[in-house]
Amino acid sequence: MRHILSVLLENEPGALSRVVGLFSARGYNIDSLTVSTTEDASMSRMTIVTHGNDDVIEQITKQLNKLIEVVKVVDLTDGNHIERELMLVKVRAAGKDREEMKRMADIFRGRILDVTDKSYTIELTGDGSKLDAFLAAIEPSFILETVRTGTSGIGRGERILKI
C-alpha cells in the first residue's frame, strides 16, 4: 500500500541524512521525498511517499519518531488529504505539432513557461497519476526532458500538522 508520511523535523544539518539513512539501513522504500523549511525557519517539513504493508509502515513511523531530530510524524493517507506534485516537461513542438502540444497542455491545465521554435517547456501540477497520465498521453519520442518534484501533501479541513 502507498502511504504519504509528513514529517516535521529540526532544520539541522544532517537531519535529512538521518532520515534517508534510516530508510536504506532498514530496507524501506522511498518512492519520493520532498523537503523544505516551514514558516518557522527552525523547522523543516518532509513529505515521504513510501509503500509497504501495515507492519512495515508502522515500523517506519516508529523508527522515524525515534530519530532525535524528528518532532512529529503523520501518515496523511490515514485521512482526507490533498497531494500535489509539480512537473516541468520539455516537449518537442515543431511545425504541425505545436498546436497539438499547446492543446495537450491546456487539457491538463498546464502552463507553457518557455518557448523556442522547436520546443515548449510545460509546467504541470496535480497528483502523481495526473502527471503520469499527461506523459502517457504524449508520444514518447516528443518528450525531451522531465523533472518532477515528488509529492507534497497536506491534510484536508481542520487536520493540521504543527507543533
Binding site: 539513512g21 523508527q63 518532532v71
Partner: protein, 584 residues
C-alpha cells in the same frame, strides 16, 4: 534549543571569564560527575588533553587501541549504571572506535564519545586524519553532533549525556573540530535540557497495564520472558517481586541474565539458540507470554513464523515503541520504563488480592518439570581432557557465584551464560547484539575500574582474546588485577561447530594455528600466567589465581577441541527444533 541556551549564557555570564573549548569540555565532564575517561590522544584532541593534564576532577585511562577505550567505557557503564565516557582523536581514532560504538549501540549502552575533528576550515578538504565522523557513525549511535561553534559546546555535551541516558539508552557522539577547542567563550553548564523533538515517554498507559494484569492473572500457562531492558533500567527487584508473587516461570535472555536470580527455582535458564530446553519449550507452549525489556530477536525466538502460536497472547513492555511488534505481533503493548511499569503492576496485583489459577499453574509446572528432566545442560565430564563447561562450573564455585564475569564471543560465551548462575544484575557483561570478539579484556578493565574491590573474571577463548590482547599493557599500567580464563581449544569453536553441523565438517580457516605461549605473553606484559591441561588441576589453578587479588592472572586452560554447545536451535529453525547433546 541551542540558540536559547546561548542567549541565556551570554546574559548571565557577560562579565565572566572566557574559557577555551578544551577547558569547557573538561569542565563539562566534571559537571557530569564523570570518574573515568577512556581514551587515546592525537593531534585533533591535543588541546583537550592539555586541559586533562591540568585537572584532577576525573582520571584518564590510556588504552592501547581506541576500540578498547569504547569497550572499557561501555563495560564501566554496564556494571555501574553511569554513563561511560571516551575520548579519541579524528580520523583513525574514530574509525578504530567504531566497533566499540556499534557494540554499545546494539546493546543500548549509554556512552558519550568525544572525538576530535580537523579544524572547521579544513573540514571537507581531505585534511590529514580527517574523516566524516558524523557520517560514519550515524547508523551506530543514538545521536551525534558536530560542534562548529564553541558557544554551543557546553549545551551540546549536556544534551549528549541527557540523550545517552534517557529513554532507550545508547551511545551519543560529540565531534569537536580542533579550532573549536581553542576558541573561547563564557561557560555556564546548563542545568536542564528541553528538546521539543526528544521527549521519551516514560510512564506506561494505565489502561494497558490493567489489561496486562487481567491477562496475566487469567493465564493457564504463563511465561515471563525478560531481556537487557530490565538490567539497564535497574528493574531486577521489581521483576523478581512480580515473578515470585505470581509463582510463574521466568527466563532471562543473554542480555537479561541476573534479572531474576540465576539460582531461583522459578528461573528456567536462558532462552534461544543455546537456551535451555525448558525455557524454549515454555516460550513456545505458554498461553500468555509477557516480554519485558526484550526484543524477540532472531537468536532468542528463532524463526518468527514458527514462533507464532494460535491463541497465545503476548504482553510486551518496552521503553522503545519501535521494539514492539517489530518481529512478533503483540496483543498488549506497553510503552514505558520497565521499572515503573513493573512497580505499578506489582502494586495493582497486590492491591487486587487476586491470585493466579492455582490448579492450572500446578499442571503447567508439572509440564515444565518434565522438560527440565531432560537435563539439557548435562555433559559428559572427563578425567583425561578439560571440558570447558567444567571450568566455568569450577569458576562459579571458586568465586562463590559473586564475581563480575565478562566474556568474548563464541562457544565460551554460551558456556559462561549457561553454567555461571548470575544472582544479581549487572554482573554478566558481554556483547549480545553485535557479538564483538575482543570485548572481553577491555570489558573486564572497565568493570574492575568501576568496582576496584570486586572479583572480575574474563571468560574468553584463544581467538577472541587475541583481538584486544594489547590491553594487557593497560592493565599493567593501571594495576587492573582481572583474571583471564582462557578456554583454549585451538579453534574458532563456534565456527568449527557450525562447520561440523552444516558444512560437512570442513574446517575452513577455523583452526587457530601458531598460537602464542599465553603464559609467556602474560609474563612479557608483567603479569602472571598458568597453563592448565589436566582436569585435576583446574580447581587448584583457579584458587591460586583468585587468591592473589592484586595480580592479573592469565589462566590458559587447554580444553577439549571437540566440545560443542548444546542445546542448539539451528539458524532459521523454530525454538522447539533444538538439537540436544544426547541426540548426537
Amino acid at each position: 534549543m541551542i540558540k536559547h541556551l546561548r542567549m541565556n549564557m551570554s546574559s548571565s555570564q557577560a562579565a565572566g571569564t572566557l574559557l577555551t573549548g578544551a577547558e569547557i569540555v573538561v569542565r563539562s565532564l566534571a559537571e557530569e560527575g564523570v570518574e573515568f575517561v577512556f581514551g587515546y590522544p592525537g593531534g585533533a584532541v591535543l588541546n583537550i588533553y592539555d586541559e586533562i593534564f591540568k585537572q584532577d576532577r576525573f582520571k584518564h585511562v590510556l588504552v592501547r587501541h581506541e576500540q578498547a577505550a569504547v569497550h572499557a567505557a561501555d563495560a564501566y557503564s554496564r556494571s555501574s549504571r553511569k554513563v561511560g565516557v571516551c575520548l579519541v582523536t579524528s580520523g583513525p581514532g574514530v574509525t578504530n572506535a567504531v566497533t566499540g560504538i556499534a557494540t554499545a549501540y546494539m546493546d543500548s549502552i549509554p556512552l558519550v564519545i568525544i572525538t576530535g575533528q580537523v579544524p572547521t576550515h579544513a573540514i571537507g578538504q581531505d585534511a590529514f586524519q580527517e574523516c566524516d565522523t558524523v557520517g560514519i557513525t550515524r547508523p551506530c549511535v543514538k545521536h551525534n553532533f558536530l560542534v562548529k561553534d564553541v558557544r554551543d559546546l557546553a549545551a551540546t555535551i549536556r544534551k549528549a549525556f541527557y540523550i545517552a541516558s534517557t529513554g532507550r539508552p545508547g551511545p551519543v557522539l560529540v565531534d569537536i573540530p580542533k579550532d573549536v577547542t581553542a576558541n573561547k567563550c563564557a561557560f555556564e553548564y546548563p542545568r536542564e535540557v528541553h528538546m521539543r523533538s526528544y521527549q521519551p515517554q516514560g510512564k506506561g498507559h494505565s489502561g494497558q497495564i490493567k489489561k496486562a494484569i487481567q491477562l496475566l492473572l487469567d493465564a493457564k500457562r504463563p511465561m515471563v520472558y525478560t531481556g537487557g531492558g530490565v538490567i539497564l533500567n535497574d528493574a531486577a527487584s521489581e521483576l523478581t517481586r512480580l515473578v515470585r508473587r505470581l509463582g510463574y516461570p521466568c527466563t532471562n535472555t543473554l542480555m537479561g541474565l541476573g534479572g531474576v536470580p540465576g539460582t531461583d527455582p522459578q528461573f528456567l535458564g536462558m532462552p534461544g539458540m543455546h537456551g535451555t530446553y525448558e525455557a524454549n519449550m515454555a516460550m513456545q507452549e505458554c498461553d500468555v507470554l509477557i516480554a519485558i525489556g526484550a526484543r524477540f530477536d532472531d537468536r532468542v525466538i528463532g524463526n518468527p513464523q514458527h514462533f507464532y502460536r494460535e491463541g497465545r497472547k503476548i504482553i510486551h513492555i518496552d521503553i522503545d515503541p519501535s521494539s514492539i511488534s517489530k518481529r512478533v505481533r503483540v496483543d498488549v503493548p506497553i510503552v514505558g520504563y520497565v521499572k515503573d511499569v513493573l512497580a505499578e503492576m506489582n502494586a495493582l496485583i497486590e492491591a487486587s488480592g487476586r491470585e493466579p489459577d492455582a490448579a492450572a499453574l500446578k499442571a503447567w509446572w508439572a509440564q515444565i518439570k518434565k522438560w527440565q528432566a531432560k537435563e539439557c545442560l548435562k555433559y559428559r565430564n572427563s578425567d583425561e581432557v578439560i571440558k570447558p563447561q567444567y571450568v566455568v562450573q569450577k569458576l562459579y564455585e571458586v568465586t562463590g557465584g559473586d564475581a563480575f564475569i565478562t566474556s568474548d564471543v563464541g562457544q565460551h560465551q554460551m558456556w559462561a551464560a549457561q553454567y555461571y548462575k548470575f544472582d544479581k544484575p549487572r554482573r554478566w557483561i558481554n556483547s549480545g547484539g553485535l557479538g564483538t570478539m575482543g570485548v572481553g579484556l577491555p570489558y573486564a578493565m572497565g568493570v574492575q575500574l568501576a568496582h576496584p574491590e570486586a572479583t572480575v573474571a574474563c571468560i574468553t577463548g584463544e581467538a577472541s582474546i587475541q583481538m584486544c590482547i594489547q590491553e594487557l599493557s593497560t592493565c599493567k599500567q593501571y594495576h587492573i588485577p582481572v583474571k583471564i580464563v582462557n578456554l583454549n581449544n585451538r579453534y574458532l569453536g563456534m565456527v568449527r561447530q557450525w562447520q561440523e553441523f552444516f558444512y560437512g565438517n570442513r574446517h575452513a580457516e577455523s583452526y587457530m594455528d601458531a598460537l602464542p605461549d599465553f603464559v609467556k605473553l602474560a609474563e612479557a606484559y608483567g603479569h602472571h600466567g598458568i597453563r592448565i591441561d589436566r582436569p585435576g588441576d583446574v580447581e587448584g589453578a583457579l584458587r591460586e589465581a583468585f587468591k592473589q587479588k592484586e595480580k592479573l592472572f592469565f589462566l590458559d586452560f587447554i580444553t577439549d577441541q571437540t566440545e560443542n554447545v548444546f542445546p542448539m536451535v539451528p539458524g532459521g529453525k523454530g525454538l522447539t527444533e533444538m538439537i540436544l547433546a544426547e541426540e548426537l
